[in-house]
Symmetry: C2
Subunit: 180 residues, 2 copies
DNA sequence: GCCGGGTGCGGCAAAATGCCGCATTCCATT
DNA sequence: AATGGAATGCGGCATTTTGCCGCACCCGGC
């Protein structure tokens, strides 16, 4: 289908979810990238060092070190690397941080391969290509809950207090949504 | 109180709301900045060109050109300028964009002078000091609703559709909260 | 005039929430 | 090991908030 393996741009995909990784990796390969996989920052770093990729897709929330660390490292290794940060739950703070550390784009999951590739594409000062869908209230709430929950290291009681909602209600909400 | 006028760092404050402008300007002057005001990007640009400020506070959503344009211009004029972008309704997409264009920080209103000054403070790669308050779900939802409602120019039916909630429910919510 | 779309509101069944209480479990101190 | 404090999971139940009708306007265009 595509040309030689060698002329395909290298892409490092880092995510701790295997299913997600394999699905996305296949999709990206179809689009002509030479994909290398890693499931953690620790695993990705040596790969990046020995062979700095041209593109990278990094999940933010993973076991071990935060994806932000990797973003910074990749950017330092080669500032031309185009890095897309993925996150289950978007947050302004981390988005700002990611970009400051060198990320090219910041996408909220679910993001499909096309969106990701599109995020790479741009010339320096592009327009606002981002997903920025009007988001339903429900999804918005869900993201917010998870964000706080994460901040609270999974402590449901504390999260409920912070969110100003009843612990029981939070519990019920959490139990209804498939954590992904 | 403070030293000579001349040794105060220059700060360009751009916002289209007069009340906001004067309140914030006074607060910033108290904190030792030599504040210059502008109420639009068009008005701010010449000021910036003739005298690039050391600091800048820019509202994102204003009449005329977007604050983003100004952010970019300021950054090009002097990449050392520390720019804080303010916005009524935080959005990931614009946050990312603003930072890519050279903003130092991105704060959601309401932000007080202290928060803004704090946002300037940082050395290159700071931690995550951002406003990012834990906000109750309720408030979050309320902000989101108003944002979309505004985008929809007050059209309740359209807003409800977009938010994926029933028109009746939206109506009831709107009638219960004092529009500010 | 007629029609499509928006708005405001009443009513009612269904679902979500708030608010108990209780049995466990986990942790840090004692 | 024991004890106290805090989290958790879950059942029940009264109260609210929804979803989902329907109906009566009001507009702006055809």
């Amino acid at each position: 289908m595509s040309g030689n393996i060698t002329d395909n741009p290298s892409l490092l995909l880092v995510d701790d979810n295997e299913t997600f990784r394999s699905v996305l990796s296949r999709a990206l390969e179809k689009r002509g990238f030479a994909v290398t996989l890693a499931e953690s920052v620790e695993q990705a770093l040596p790969l990046a060092r020995s062979n700095p990729p041209e593109y990278a897709v990094v999940d933010l929330k993973m076991e071990g070190a935060s994806g932000l660390v990797l973003v910074q490292a990749l950017h330092e290794l080669d500032s031309a690397t185009r890095i897309v940060v993925l996150t289950g739950y978007a947050s302004i703070a981390t988005a700002v941080e990611a970009v400051k550390l060198g990320a090219t784009q910041y996408l909220a999951k679910p993001a499909n391969a096309d969106e990701i590739v599109a995020a790479f594409g741009h010339n320096a000062n592009a327009d606002l290509p981002v997903g920025e869908r009007p988001a339903s209230v429900e999804r918005l709430e869900w993201e917010h809950i998870n964000r706080v929950l994460q901040e609270q290291q999974g402590n449901i009681s504390a999260t409920a207090r912070q969110l100003n909602m009843h612990r029981r209600t939070l519990q019920r909400k959490l139990s209804k949504k498939p954590l992904y």
